[in-house]
Amino acid sequence: MRDSFYSLADQLVAQCAGAEVLLLNFAAERSDFVRFNNSLLRQAGNVLQQYLDLELIDCDKHVSETISLSGDGQENLRKASASLDGLRARLPQVPADPYLLYAQEVRSSEKTGACKLPPVKDAVGAILTAGAGKDLVGIHAQGESGGGFANSFGQRNWFATHSFHFEWCLYAQGDKAVKSAYAGFEWSGAELAAKMATAAGQLGALGRPAKTVPPGEYRLYLAPAAFAEFTDMLGWGGYGLKSHRTKTTCLLKMLEEGAAFSPLFSAKENTVEGLSPNFTDAGYVKPDSVHLVTAGRFDTCLVSPRSAREYGAEVNSDGESPSSLDIAAGDLPRDEVLQRLGEGVYCNQLWYLNWSDMPACRITGMTRFATFWVEGGEIVAPLNVMRFDETGYRALGSNLLALTREREFLPDSGTYDARSTDSARVPGALIEGFRFTL
C-alpha cells in the first residue's frame, strides 16, 4: 500500500503549478469481519477500502475532496487527477481562510509492523471451539490497516499495522454477561483459550439471583474498562483549545471558578505509547505526550492546526480529542479492591454516557454487563442495571478514594468507517457517594 500511495503522490505533486501546495492523506484497510451469536456465525465477510484526501492550497485559499480508490494504479491516477482538476476549478469560488495552517517543515516518518495474523478461518475455528456449549456473542476483526501523508514539499509519512481484535460476551442469563476482549498483533490459540476460560469462570457469580438497589449514593469500584468510559467523556470537548476559548468545554468550572479534580487524577495524551499515527492530516508530527490534567488541575489543551492559527498556539494534536489517553496509576493493589470497597457496587462496564449538565461536568449513563453487589468485601449478587447521574468534580474530585496500581491497556474496538487506532491506558477507580438515580 505504501509504495502505491507514494507513487500516486509523486504523480499528483508533479501536476501542481505555480504557488499551489498539495496535501495528501491516504487511509486503507483490508479487514475480515466475523460476527457471532449464540456461539454460531451470524455475518462474515471482507472489506477492502482505500481513500485519498486531496487538499489543494493556493495562497490563503484551499479546498479538499476525499475519494475512494480502486486497486488499480492507472485508474487511481485517473480518478485522483480528475479530483485535482475539480479542486482547481473550485478554488476561485471559495473565500480566503484566515485560519489555514499546514506544516512546511519536512518531517518524514515511517512505522510498520510485520503480518503475524493467522488465516481468518483458523481464528474463527478457534473461537467456535472455545465458545462451544456457551452463549457467545461478539465480533472478530483482523487484517491490515494503514495510512500515509504526503505533501508537495516532499514530506512522506507512513503508518501500517496488521492487527486483530476479538471482542465478545459470554451470557449467563437475560442481560447478565461477562464481556472480554483479546486484541493484538500475533494470535495465540492458547491465549484465547485462557481468556475464554477466565470469562467462563466469572459466569458463576452472574447465575445467582440478581439484586436491585434503590436510587441513592453508593460506594463504587469502576474497573478499568468502566473508568475509561467515564473519563472518555472529558475528551468530548473537554481538552480542546477551541472548546476552552469558546467556553463550551465540560471543564468550564476549572477555567472560571478554579475547580479541580482530586490530586490523585492525572491524564495525558500519550501518543508515543499509543496505537495511532504520530502525524496529523496537515503534516505536523505530534509530540510524544501532552499533559492534559496534572494532579487534578488543568494543564495543557490539545491544539489542532486550525485552532493554533486562530488562537495563536502551537499545534500538538489533530482533532483536539485524545486518541491515546493515559490516566496515571494510583497505589491501590488490584487484589485489595474488594476489601477496600467493603459494601457497594463493583462495576465492570458503563454504557451510553452523555451530559446531563455539560458546563457542570455532570454525566449520566448506565451500568452494564458484569456489575455486582458487594458486602463484607465479597461479591454477593449480580446487580440489575442502574442509571447514574454524577459530576466529574465529585467522582474524580472530592469522592475519588483511590486508583489502582495496575492499569489496563484498552485498544478501541470501534469500526465506524474504519478500524479505530485509538487506545487508552487506565487504572480502576474507587469512588464514594456515587449517585445512582434509576
Binding site: 479538499s64 480502486s70 461478539g138 472560571e256 454504557w351
Partner: protein, 478 residues
C-alpha cells in the same frame, strides 16, 4: 453506471445458489461558516460495491472499492469463501431464505437541485445566516452550515433483480452558544440531530434556515438568565424535535428484531421486548399509533427498496397502543417467525445490511398545541434534544433538551434551562395522554444512528406531533 455494472456482474458471477451486487456511490459536500469566517469547503466522492453470496446454506460478503472486473471477481471469490466458511455453522440456514428479486427504480425529491447554485452563492447564504446569530457579546460561538449528499445505489441479483435508486439529502444547521461566567447554554436549529431531510435546496426554506438565526441566538441568551428546570413528577409536553429522539430510542431500537434475536448483545444491546409480546403487549396508551414509513418522500430515510430488495411499504408497528409488528428484514423475519418490514439496510457499500428503523413516526391525533398546553396544570414544555442515554435493553432512559418553558395552570410561562427527564420505556408510553394534530407535526432525522458490528452509522427519519405525557420525573442542572 447501471449498464456497466450489469455487464461486469454478468462476467463475475460465481456458480452459487444466490449472488448479489450492491453498488453505492455517495457524493457529499459540507460547507460551514463559523464566527463569520468560512471554513474549508470539503467534498467527497465514495463508490464501491458489496458482493453477497449464499451457497449451501452459508452466507458471505466481500466489499471493495475496486470496481474493475478483476476487482469484483476477487470480491466474489472472497464472498464465496466466506459462504463456505459459514455453511452449517450459522445462526440460520441462509439457503432457506427467499431473497427478493426486485425490478424497479426510485428517485427521491429535489425540487431545487443542489447544483442549481454555485459554491460561492451557497457561502453567501451561510454568511448571511451566520451573521444574524451574533446578537450579543455573550454569544461566544456560532455557526451556520449545510451538508448535502447525492446517494445512488444499484442492486443486482443472480435471480434477475435490478434496482436503481437515487436520493438527495440535505442537513442545514444553525447553532449559537451563549456564555456568562461558568455557564454556557446552546441553542440550535436541531443541528445534525434535527432538520435532516431528503430534497434539494428547498429544505432550507422549509425548515426556516433563512429566518431562524436571531430567534436561536436570543433563546440561547434567554437560557443564560433562566432558572434551572424544576425537579419533581409532573406533566411533560414534548415538541416534535424531542419526540424524534424519544421515538428513536425507546420505540425504534427495542423493536429491532436483530436485537431481540440477540445479535447486538455485545455492542448496541438487547431489548426488553420479547418475541411473544407481538400481538399482545400494550406498549402505550390508546393514543399511541406508530408507523414504519419509508414511503414519505421528504423524510430522511425514505427509499423504494431496502438493501435486500424488499419493496418499501408503510406498516403500523404499534396500533392504538398495541404492539403488532417488529422492525426486521428478510433474514430476521425468517429467523424469528415474526412479521417485519423492509428495513434491512447498510450505511454504505462497505458494511452488510442489518435491521435499521428507517423512518419511524408517531401518527398525529386531534389536539391542537393550545389544547395540549391548556390541559396541563403543572408541567414543562421541552424543545430540541440535547442529551440522550438509555440502557442496553432500551428501558431506563434519561433525555435532556436545549430549551424549556414551564406549564402552569394551562399556560406557557417562563423559560427554564437544563431540562431533563427520565423514565422507563415499558411504562412511559402508557402515560401518553395527549397527541397533537397535523399542525404540530415536525419532520426530523439524523445521519448518526450507530449500531452493528462492524459499526455502522446510518440515516433515520422521525415525524411526530407534539405529545403530552403525565407523571414524568423531571429535573434540571446542578
Amino acid at each position: 453506471m447501471l449498464e456497466t455494472l450489469e455487464s461486469r456482474f454478468a462476467q463475475i458471477q460465481p456458480a452459487v445458489d444466490f449472488c448479489s451486487l450492491r453498488y453505492v456511490r455517495e457524493v457529499g459536500e459540507s460547507l460551514t461558516v463559523r464566527q463569520d469566517v468560512p471554513e474549508p469547503a470539503a467534498c467527497s466522492d465514495d463508490a464501491g460495491a458489496m458482493i453477497t453470496v449464499i451457497h449451501q446454506g452459508g452466507l458471505g460478503y466481500a466489499a471493495t472499492s475496486d470496481l474493475t472486473v478483476e476487482g469484483l471477481r476477487r470480491a466474489a471469490a472472497k464472498a464465496t469463501d466466506y459462504a463456505a466458511l459459514t455453511a452449517g455453522r450459522s445462526v440460520t440456514d441462509f439457503g432457506a431464505l427467499t431473497m427478493p428479486a426486485p425490478v424497479g427504480e426510485y428517485v427521491g425529491p429535489a425540487r431545487v437541485p443542489w447544483s442549481s447554485t454555485s459554491l460561492g452563492e451557497k457561502f453567501e447564504v451561510l454568511k448571511a445566516a451566520c451573521a444574524k446569530l451574533k446578537v450579543s457579546d455573550r454569544i461566544v460561538d456560532w455557526h451556520a452550515s449545510i451538508w448535502h449528499l447525492a446517494h445512488e445505489t444499484v442492486y443486482l441479483t443472480s435471480t434477475g433483480g435490478r434496482v436503481r435508486q437515487e436520493l438527495s439529502l440535505v442537513a442545514p444547521s444553525l447553532e449559537a452558544a451563549a456564555n456568562e461566567g461558568s455557564d454556557t447554554q446552546g441553542r440550535s436549529l436541531g443541528s445534525l440531530r434535527g432538520n435532516c431531510r431528503q430534497g434539494g435546496l428547498e429544505v432550507l426554506e422549509d425548515c426556516g434556515f433563512h429566518t431562524s438565526s436571531q430567534r436561536i441566538a436570543q433563546e440561547a441568551l434567554e437560557l443564560l438568565g433562566a432558572e434551572n428546570c424544576p425537579s419533581g413528577r409532573m406533566d411533560v409536553l414534548l415538541a416534535s424535535d424531542q419526540m424524534m429522539l424519544q421515538i428513536h430510542e425507546s420505540i425504534g431500537h427495542p423493536l429491532e428484531l436483530d436485537r431481540i434475536l440477540g445479535d447486538e448483545r455485545n455492542y448496541a444491546g438487547t431489548s426488553f421486548v420479547k418475541p411473544e409480546m407481538f400481538g399482545t403487549y400494550r406498549y402505550g396508551s390508546d393514543l399511541l399509533n406508530v408507523t414504519f414509513d419509508p414511503t414519505r418522500p421528504e423524510q430522511f430515510a425514505s427509499y423504494g427498496y431496502d438493501d435486500d430488495g424488499l419493496p418499501a411499504v408503510k406498516e403500523f408497528v404499534i396500533k392504538d397502543g398495541l404492539l403488532v409488528r417488529g422492525l426486521g428484514g428478510v433474514t430476521s423475519q425468517a429467523r424469528s417467525g415474526l412479521p417485519g418490514v423492509a428495513d434491512s439496510r447498510a450505511c454504505s457499500w462497505n458494511r452488510p445490511p442489518i435491521d435499521r428503523m428507517a423512518n419511524l413516526n408517531v401518527e398525529p391525533n386531534g389536539s391542537t398545541f393550545d389544547e395540549l398546553v391548556a390541559a396541563v396544570e403543572r408541567g414543562v414544555y421541552m424543545e430540541t434534544n440535547k442529551s440522550w442515554s438509555i440502557d442496553d435493553s432500551r428501558n431506563k432512559f434519561q433525555f435532556g433538551c436545549e430549551y424549556a418553558r414551564l406549564l402552569e395552570n394551562g399556560k406557557l410561562t417562563h423559560v427554564v434551562k437544563n431540562p431533563n427527564y427520565r423514565g422507563i420505556s415499558a411504562t412511559f408510553w402508557r402515560s401518553l395522554k395527549g397527541v397533537g394534530n397535523e399542525a404540530t407535526v415536525g419532520v426530523f432525522g439524523t445521519p448518526y444512528c450507530g449500531k452493528g458490528e462492524p459499526n455502522q452509522s446510518i440515516r433515520v427519519g422521525h415525524a411526530s406531533p407534539a405529545c403530552l405525557f403525565g407523571d414524568v420525573e423531571v429535573f434540571g442542572g446542578e
